[in-house]
Amino acid sequence: LGMRVKTLDSTTYEEATNGVGNWLRQRTRWLKGYMQTWLVHMRAPRQLLRNAGVGGFFGFQFFVGGTVLSALLNPLLWSLFLMSYFFDLPSIGLLDASRSVSGFALLLGNALFAYLAMLGPYRRGWIDLSPFALLAPIYWLLISAAAYRALWQLARNPWHWEKTPHGVSRMPGAGLIT
């Protein structure tokens, strides 16, 4: 349509989900959306490249495709890393270097993610939230669970979207304004 999409530097006071079940359904919906978006655009990759340019094309791969891929790979890398301590990897057909690769990826990836989550609240002065960033590895496992749910739903029920109930938190939105 000849128009461009931009992001506004603004604040959203959207109500965050306040339970694991709600959160899991919400993330499942988001990740299924990412998967569908990637699949739709990659039906004609040359057209995408023409429309978005090289930077936009690779940005799309990393931010849309990469988000899904990293969520799906996360438990596999954890499994590989843990298996390397109990099994002789070359004997089961896996590279001996997989412990180093998976360990490095897990340490660096989780550390970076946790650190960003730790520094994020400073902009609002909510530094009391910083320590919760240490739960990032567990958070990532939940994202992976949502990713596999999304993959399953994409295959079995692609048009079903799990809605997030709102208005269930105790604190009204106005209470968050600082």
Binding site: R99, L107, M118, L119, Y122, I127, D128, P131
Partner: protein, 275 residues
């Protein structure tokens, strides 16, 4: 010595020294020192006997750079606790840990705690998140090193304790270590900014204490390395702590005295030179 000259090694030493010189020059210029005095003062600090030896030169140059980066970033962090300064401070502490594990670890544990009184009202009484943010990078680096060394059996560069040639410990180099700290002690006492005084006193003490411990129990002639770590802290003292027209003269007197002291000791007692 020329026949043993390793060009890549010399390039690494030169790069580290150049980075240190450039950092000090920028700090001095930022504090309104003119071009020539800033360059001259930086060169005075760079004139270290520790940088001359190929064996210990890289370690000394990196240690010097790490000490300067830690002190500068700590002083900046104490003035304002924003994410950029937190990352720089945490990164400097991690870098010091990598280069001098004992000194770096002690500084990481002590320096953030010393700075607690300088935190703004936003963080008063809410320091857990702040300490976590500062100590996160050093903690991750420590975990990564432990993982690589003990689990992966990766051969790590032997910094600096293990790199020392085994020598019998001698009391004389310990005196040199203490003597090389005198200029910094004078600069710290004259520093007008309380938080910078705290940073210099803490960082300088950590370098002094770890050098003395290693010298007395391990040997290896630590004093040149110690002097290389303490000298750049003089620039931090001059930049933050002194004001007025006389500060340029003060700076030259202090840095010249420090350089003179170090080289006099080095040339008079070559047997206690670089390890």
């Amino acid at each position: 010595m020329i026949s043993q000259l390793s060009v890549p090694f010399a390039i690494w030493i030169g790069s580290a020294v150049a980075a240190l010189g450039w950092g000090m020059f920028l700090r001095l210029r930022g504090a309104n020192f003119k071009l020539l005095p800033a360059a001259a003062l930086s060169l005075l600090v760079l004139a270290q006997p520790a940088f001359v030896s190929l064996f210990s030169g890289l370690r000394s140059a990196l240690f010097s750079l790490a000490a300067f980066a830690t002190a500068s970033s700590a002083a900046a962090f104490a003035r304002r606790q924003d994410p950029r300064r937190i990352v720089l401070f945490g990164g400097s502490l991690a870098g010091t840990q990598l280069i001098h594990p004992m000194c770096g670890t002690m500084t990481t544990l002590v320096l953030p705690w010393v700075l607690r009184r300088s935190f703004g009202d936003t963080f008063r009484g809410r320091t857990v998140g702040l300490y976590l943010s500062v100590l996160f990078i050093p903690a991750m680096v420590s975990i990564a090193l432990v993982f690589l060394f003990f689990v992966q059996h990766v051969h790590l560069p032997k910094w600096p304790v293990l790199a020392m040639r085994a020598t019998s410990s001698d009391f004389v180099p310990s005196l040199f270590i203490v003597a090389s700290a005198v200029p910094l002690a004078v600069a710290t006492l004259r520093c007008r900014v309380p938080v910078t005084r705290s940073v210099l006193a803490t960082t300088g003490s950590m370098i002094l204490v770890t050098s003395l411990i290693l010298e007395l129990f391990v040997g290896g002639h630590q004093w040149a390395l110690s002097a290389a770590g303490l000298s750049p802290l003089l620039v931090v003292a001059l930049v933050d702590g002194s004001q007025g027209d006389g500060r340029r003269i003060d700076a030259f007197v202090l840095l010249s005295a420090s350089a003179l002291l170090i080289w006099t000791l080095f040339l008079s007692f070559p047997e206690y030179g670089n390890a």
